[in-house]
Amino acid sequence: MNKMEKKYLLIIASLVVITSCSEDFLNKEPLVDTVIENFYKTGNDAVLAVNAAYVPLEWEFNHTYFNEWMLGDVVSDDALKGGNNINDMNDLFLLENFTATPSNEVLLEFYRAQYQGIYRCNLAINKIPEIQPDETMDISLKNRLVAEAKFLRAYYYFRLVRVFGGIPKITLTLDPSEYKQPRALRDTIYSLIYNDLESAIPGLWLKSLYADEDLGRATKGAAQALLMKAYLYNQEWTKAKAWGDSVILSGEYDLEPGFSSNFSLAGENGTESVFEVQYMEEPTSDYGDGNGYTRGTFIIIMQRTRVGSLGWGFNRPTVDLLNEFESGDPRRNATITGPDGDLYLGNGYHSRKYALEGYTLAHPTRGPLNQKVIRFSDVLLMYAEAACEINDLPAAKAALERVRLRARNNNPSVLPAFPYGSYTDNQEDLRDAIRHERRVELAMEGHRFFDLVRWGIAEQVMNAYRENESVAITDYMMPFETGKHDLFPIPETEINLNNLLLQNPNY
């Protein structure tokens, strides 16, 4: 090889050096965090995925997403927004007065939170079936985990559909090209809810089979009760009653001897609890953002009176609700306190159920106390309603009486058995009595507005209530319009991001 050849060889060699490098060099998987492709592989992954799917249930209040009790009570004839003044959480004030627009932040945050729950459920439902059982997950647990996610997905959709009507039906994780989804029909969403719950029931465990540390997870009874409720919202009385039978006859549930113990720390996840959102003491000093708004709830400080700086005085029971209680009904004083000097538009009453009176919060604003989603008395009253509608009056009366019996608390002078007062023993009066019972038994627990709408009497009841409210309140309050206010507006921000979404009528 002569010198020249050597040099050319060197040139070629250097060109080879310059151009040879493997693209594998550029593959750098994240350190510390698992990537999605490597997750959902083990039983433990499945447990973690389902735990995370529960979390959006806990999100509530300003900038931390909103809970539906604000809609169920404040929008109805049961409660006023409360707080410091009308500007204190003004978005809720607008909802209360039927003046909310699509720009309402309460609705936007509520909408987003439910879909974040659905996203996590979809991941669990679609990924866990591919995971082989292992030492952390036997087949029974695997089936239960998928079923828990299905229960949660059904519940998130239920929360959405009764607020907004038909909304996008998402059951898979979306690719960017699929982000914009049109609204599905209301019935399509309910079909999804029925299917999810019916297919979840076999996999879910009876409440009594859960270990102490797992209390709070979805149970067979919770799915059955939610299914019953979903059917009730669609006037499918026979099916509702059948699922009610499953819950009642399971022997898993009973009424607490004392009504108020439902709202004490001791009564949490007790015999009357079918499903409740779990909270605990929050160990941090921030507003919960450090922990992602998990652990503690704002509901305690929000509902306590401002007198003595105990709380923020939200969700005020109306005089209308106060008057709904029969004379001597012990539930009245268990539900409402006041009036005191903390006035909101002249109203000095406060809600007691979630105020956890006498308890000193470890955190300045957040505390424990689970939020009841379905209590056994709710199941009994739903059962009574379904039975009444199919004219099985003895079954309806028996269920109703079971609720009143506990409420009367061994005092024979109050809350007589149906027919009482002006009621006669017929289907129509029984229906009225059941609706009355539902209002007082479940008052300030977020049910009322949705009940009024599904009964088709919202306009009549709300406008009658408005007639009787004080001027200070009705000055702001618009009449209820059927065909508009039975649903809330789809958030404007979401319509801007997804032009396939159509607005609800008249907004």
Binding site: C21, F25, V32, I36, N51, Y115, L215, G216, N269, Y279
Partner: protein, 1019 residues
Amino acid sequence: MRKILFLFLIITVWVLSSHAQEHTIKGVVVSAEDNGPLVGVSILVKGTTSGTVSDREGKYELTIAHADTVIFSYVGFLSQEHIINSDMKMDVLLEPEFENIEQVYVIGYGTQKKSDITGSVISVSSEKITQTPVSGIDQALQGRASGVMVTANSGQPGSEMTIRVRGIGTVNNSSPLYVVDGVLLNNINYLNPNDIQSIEILKDASAAAIYGSRGANGVILVTTRKGAMNKMNTRFEMYTGIQNRWNKLDLMNREQYAAFKGYTSDDGDFSTWVYNTFNLSINPYIPADINYENYDTDWQDVVFKKNARISNYYLSFDGGNENSNYAISLGYFDQEGIIISSNYKRFTFRVNSSHELTKYLEIGENISLNNSKNRGVATNNENYSVLNSAISLAPWDPVRYPDGRITPSTTTNLKNPLSMVELENPHDTWNRIVGNVYADITLFPDLIFRSNLGTDVSYGEGGNFKPEYYISANDNMPNNFLEHNYERYTMWLLENTLTYKNTIALKHDVTMLIGMTAQESDYDYLGGSKTDLPNESPNLWYLDAATQNPTIGGTGWEWSILSYLGRINYVYNNKYLLTFNIRRDGSSRFGKNNKWGSFPSLALGWKLSEEEFFHNMKEYFNSVKIRGGWGRIGNQEIGNYAFTTRINAGTTFVSYVFGDTPALATGAAPLSIANNDIKWETTEQTNAGIDISMLNNKLSLSGDYYIKDTKDMLVAIPVPGNVGLRQFPFVNAGSIRNQGFEFSAEFKHKVGNLFYTIGGNFATLKNEVLSLGGGEDIYEASFFGEYLTRTRVGDPVGAFYGYQTNGIFQDNYEVEEHVNSLGQMIQPGAKPGDFRFVNQNDDNKIDQNDKINLGNPYPSLTYGFYASAEYKGFDLQLFFQGVYGNKIFNCNKYFTQGTGYTNLESDMVNAWSGKGSSNTLPDPEGSAANLKASSRYIEDGSYLRLKNTQLGYTFNNKITGKAGVSALRIYVSGTNLLTFTKYTGFDPEIGYTGTLDYGVDRGTYPQARTFIVGLTLNL
């Protein structure tokens, strides 16, 4: 460049191979400046390596062939060539070099003659870098280069600066890239300024495109000192001096503050009044018998040191011959902060050499070792800062009780600064090795292959120890606490390039470069803490000696980048210039749909002065060059893992509560989703400039105009809620424009024995957010729960944000008259003495929607100017630096003009106290809304500073030469001697502490005023 010279020499050796008769020449080489002998002048036979150097008296003697050309060259002087035809005595008078018009710039993967450069490149010489006594090169660049904004983040010794080249290109990472001797680095705080040969800054895209996806924020190229050929040099430099604060806030003394807090002589004994008013009996730590009348503490004097030391020592050896050169240096820098307890110490060691092993092969290396130790102090925080305490504590509080114990504040929850200093023991140590080895293989005389392998390895160790103590309910440690952590950063880099350089047919100068580079970096952190050390002695400050509450944490990351690059420099007839760059980068950070990006640039230049028609103007203009360029470059600081969907495991946003006894159950879910399209942020920049050298090269001028558009800026873009993401994914969607003029000028002249230089530069900047891609406004810079900056389309990046005040309500009538167009009261809860806020939207309340853009934190004009003169051994330098047109958010006023819960400025005696008393200072007892973020805090941040002045004397080397010293200079220097500003805080230099909070002063560690004496000694 040196290689090319060698090459040239080698070729000429072959050509000039004939030998004839010999001659001997001898004589003395002296400086034309002072007629002093020049020691070590290189005297070479042209085209050979044979020659000699002048001795200590400037004498030389050399035997040469007939008709050889002899070159006399010496650093800092113009070379001379003489053709020798006989034996002769020849004394040579070397003229000092004013302007080396053939200065060579480092441009990235090569060098280029300054006159051939088509992009916007600035060079800063080592003299300017070492003029100001500072620890870091970043500080030394302040005011030296037009369009390079340098702001101190803190006066803490050793702290890094904010450097922004041509504006703020992104809301994300907008720091420039550093390249030291070819090694690409994220920071250069390990470098000793004394080790620097020169710094070049690539400002425009046509110059920076060779760095592709890392060039968008500008590139700072640092070249370190190398040994000179045929010259041995030993250099010792040192300075030592003191620093102190230059400014102090005018706060109330004891009497004023006591009067403000309501004390009158009717209240009787002052100490009793203090004891009762502030309910001191609740804290048994506080003695009941303190006589508060004995104290009038100036807390600013407590936290600022009177005289903080600063010293620098530097010793270097360098030299070389025709085949090799070397440089070795040692440095030690030691600086105390002007705030008590803060300090910084740094050892540096550096060695480099290069060796031409054969005609075809040259190898070399640079190795730099660094050890730095730093103790910080808490500043710039509203809740925990010694400066904040210094302006807040009551003047009647003693610093210590007579028995020596640190006092708690009688009035506030803020701590005694001594508690933060003496009961904290933070430390931070770094050991860092940066270096490279290279080989140049000359394949053909005009074709060179270079392979360069570089590395950067850093180890950091830090921790803190807090003893057990109790001073007050707000200031105590129930158990002692120890934390300790280690971190490691590793980077390696391989570069292979082929450079072809030739002149074809005398008219076509062509330089071509192709190459590849690969770089990889990773980081690892491990740290833990424990409490309850049974013994608090410092030699037991190890985790094994503590017993309770162990915590441990660790994290890490890695990334890699692979690049191909190419460049053509073409000069036709020394008149027309063309530069084309292209780089193709693939990065581990980019999404799979955008794994590779291409970054081209093109620039053209025209040397007008070389044209025929220009010749009659040559009398005035030595050279005139106009140039223009365009380029597209990128910023790949987009986070390491945005391309993939990560599972958020643990507690935040994913943990739920279960159980009869409620307990947290961890969960896992993705909070956001991968963006497969994620890529670099693209910057497109167009630049036009002109370089003029005139009046016999005495005056040089340079001007540029640029438009720099960042596209594809990463912003979080909302996606429909039905997707189900907790955090919106980052998308390349935002856009920012920076544009401005840059101008610099320098005039050098010699009159008799007086040699003087004056020069300066300025740059304008207009910064505007053009788009956030539909994403939401970005709020940053939190202060007591409020965001102080907002980045919004149409505003500058990080613009200040808050309410606009409009005077003070003087009476109830004015409160009632503050109404909207419907006549509704806007501030119904306000009282006389409260601020009247401007209602921006005509509703009936003041809320978030009434907050507006309150001003731009970035100066519209930055400038620096300097003058220097030398006369008979004396030299004098003045250097001014300033900014104009920026605002500062002065958070100190929250306290000093606040409610009086803390000490106040003296002027608060003039605060509103009744109708007509003040329209600017609200009633201290008024509404809390007065303290909200508003225009009251916004101040003009413009300043002009005499950054440095220096007076030196260089001893005549006729005298010092006898002692073996070739040069000896002594000097005195002052830094920040004068500051002209309207800003009322401690110091107008307010950089960043977090993201997008430039210019927010929460009590920033101020810049020191420094006085030093120093000497430079050359052997």
